[in-house]
Symmetry: C2
Subunit: 330 residues, 2 copies
C-alpha cells in the first residue's frame, strides 16, 4: 500500500483524463473548492496514440473551438486548459488509473505507480482514441501535422486541404460522412476500402457518390504512406491480386473507428454501451453508479469535438459538486 | 412581403440567437458550408436585460471558460465568437425573429423588420434571461460589473467577492445552492427572502444553514441598491411592518429564476417543458419538429454555462448538417 492510502486521505473528487473534458471538469471543480486531483495519464503508442492532453495533441491548427477567431494550435490550447485548471488549485498526477473499485465507499483507484487512491467521487474523462492503420509514416505524419488525420470534421476545412486530392480510409457510415464533408473542399476525394462493398448505409453511400469529385477505390489497403514533412502519396495493395500502386494525395483521413479508453473500468460495475462507450443518464453526466460521472469522448461517439467534450466536463463537475453536497461529503 | 421572400431564396440554416450556443452553431455550420444566417436580435431592457451576445455581455471577468487561463472579459469573448463565425462566412442580421411557421417546408420566419425568411433548418439558441428585481441601480451595477450578478457559479469565485459580506435574493433550491457555494468564499452570506419560510427543499436549506457564515434575513425585500461604481449596501424593507434598514454588502446575487426566450415560438408547435424550456430529444439537439434544433440556455435550465451552451451549439450544427444531408437539402 502507498503512503497516500496509509494516511487515510480521501479526495473529494478524482478526475481521470486530461483532454478538454478532464481539464474543464477540473477548472469547475477547483473553482468550487473541491480540490480535484487530475490523473493525466502516461504517453503510449501502438495500437493507438495515447497522450496526456488527448486527441487534440495530434492536431495542428484548431479552427472550430469557439473563442479563438484566428485559430489555435491543439497542444497550445491544451496547455492553456491545464494552466487554467492548475491556477485554481487542481493537483496534477502524471500516472494512469489502472483499475477502479467502485463497490467500496470511498472509492478506491489503483494507479500505474502502484498507489491506491481514495475518493468520494470520480469523473471519468479518459476519451477515445482514433483507430489507426499502425504504420510508422502514418503515425509520424499524424503527430507532426503532416496531412494525416483521424477527424475530417476537425481538420478537413484547413487551407492545406483546399482544392487538393484527399483520401479517406474506411467503409462505414462515419467514413462516408467524412468523405462527403471533404468533397466540399477537395479537388477529389478517394475512399479506399479493403472490400468490394461498403458497410455504410445505402443513403450515405449514395450521398457520397453523387458528388462529382467522389471516387471509390475498391479492394485496396494502404500499406505505406509517402512523404517527408507532408504526405505526398499512399501506397495501395490490391487485396485480390496483391498488386501495388501509388495514389498521390495531399491529405489522408483515417476513418476506421474509435476505441473508448475504458479498459481500466473492466470489473468496476460501470455500465457501458454495446460499442464500449460509457452509458450516461439522460442529459446529465451520471453513470449507473452514484458518485461516478463521465464526460467527453469516453461517453460520446456522436459529436467528439473539443467544445462538446469541454461542455460535458463542466456538466460532470457541477453534477459531482451537487452530489457531494447532497450527500454531505463537501 | 419582403424582397427576400420574393426572390424565393431558401437558406439552408437559420440560427436564432447570438450567445455562445448561437455563435458556436454558426462556426460549425459555416465551416460545413451551410452558409448559416444568424439573427442576433435587438437590445432590450425591462423586465429583463436582453442583449445580442447573451448573458455573458453582463459579466465582467469570465474565469471558467476553458482556454483562457488568465480569464477573459465576457463581451470580448463574445466578440471573438462572432468574429470566428463571420470569418467562416456566417451572415449576421441585427433583427429578432418574431414568429415561426414550422408547418410549412421550407420553414417561414418573420423578422422584426417585417421580412419573411425561409429556411430548410433552424437552430433555436435564444437563451434565457435571468430574472431581476428591476431597480435602476441594480440593473446599472449588473451591467457595469459593479458587484451585482445573477450567477454565483459564474462570478462568485472572483477576487472582488473574497472574504466579503454577500447577499443572495431568493428562496428556491437554486438560491440555496448559490448561497451555499458563496459561503466558501465570502466572510458572510445573507439570504434575503420575502417570506418567513423557504420554497427550497429541507436538505438544501440545512446545507446552507449548517455553514458558520450563513444567515437568513426573513420577511424582507430589496427596495434599493446603494453604491456608485461598486455596490456598498442593499436597502431592505420589512414585509411585515414596512420598516427600512441598510445591509452593507460587497456583492448581490439575484437568484429568483430565469426565463427562457421562447415567446416567439408560441403557436409554432415546438414542444416546451412545463418550465418553458425547449424540450430536446435524449442527448441530441433535436426538438419535436424535424429540422428544428435547439441549443444553449433556451433548452437547458440545469447547467447554463458558456461552455455547455457552446457544446450544445456545436451539437446542433452537426445535427442540422446530418439532417440536411440525409434529406438531400445540402
Amino acid at each position: 500500500m502507498s503512503e497516500q492510502a496509509d494516511t487515510g486521505q480521501v479526495h473529494k473528487l478524482v478526475v481521470i483524463g486530461s483532454g478538454p473534458a478532464g481539464w474543464t471538469a477540473a477548472i469547475y471543480a477547483a473553482r468550487a473548492a473541491l480540490e480535484p486531483v487530475c490523473y493525466v495519464g502516461v504517453p503510449k503508442q501502438n495500437p493507438s496514440i495515447v497522450l496526456p492532453g488527448g486527441q487534440l495533441m495530434l492536431t495542428t491548427e484548431v479552427e472550430n473551438y469557439p473563442g479563438f477567431p484566428e485559430g489555435v494550435k491543439g497542444p497550445d490550447m491544451m496547455a492553456d486548459f491545464e494552466k487554467q485548471a492548475l491556477r485554481f488549485g487542481t493537483k496534477k498526477v502524471g500516472e494512469d488509473i489502472e483499475s477502479c473499485d467502485f463497490s467500496k465507499r470511498p472509492f478506491e483507484l489503483k494507479t500505474s505507480g502502484g498507489d491506491v487512491v481514495r475518493a468520494h467521487s470520480v469523473i471519468i474523462a479518459t476519451g477515445a482514441t482514433a483507430n489507426w492503420l499502425g504504420q510508422d509514416n502514418e503515425m509520424r505524419l499524424a503527430m507532426s501535422g503532416g496531412g494525416v488525420s483521424a477527424c475530417a470534421v476537425c481538420d478537413g476545412a484547413l487551407p492545406m486541404f483546399r482544392d487538393k486530392p484527399l483520401a479517406v480510409v474506411g467503409g462505414g457510415d462515419t467514413a462516408m460522412e467524412e468523405a462527403t464533408y471533404l468533397t466540399k473542399f477537395a479537388s477529389k476525394v478517394y475512399v479506399i476500402h479493403r472490400r468490394d462493398e461498403l458497410r455504410a448505409s445505402k443513403t450515405m453511400q449514395e450521398r457520397f457518390l453523387s458528388q462529382p469529385n467522389a471516387e471509390m477505390v475498391w479492394n485496396s489497403t494502404v500499406v505505406d504512406v509517402h512523404g517527408d514533412e507532408k504526405i505526398e502519396a499512399v501506397e495501395l495493395e490490391n487485396t485480390q491480386n496483391g498488386e501495388r500502386s501509388k495514389l498521390p494525395v495531399t491529405g489522408l483521413f483515417i476513418a476506421i473507428g474509435h476505441t473508448p479508453a475504458t479498459k481500466f473500468l473492466e470489473g468496476s460495475g460501470i455500465k457501458v454501451h454495446d460499442n464500449g462507450y460509457v452509458a450516461l443518464d439522460t442529459r446529465s453526466s451520471k453513470t449507473n453508479i452514484e458518485g461516478v460521472f463521465a464526460a467527453g469522448d469516453v461517453a460520446d461517439h456522436e459529436y467528439r469535438q473539443a467544445v462538446t467534450a469541454a461542455g460535458m466536463g463542466c456538466q460532470a463537475a457541477l453534477d459531482a459538486e451537487r452530489w457531494l453536497g447532497a450527500n454531505r461529503l463537501h
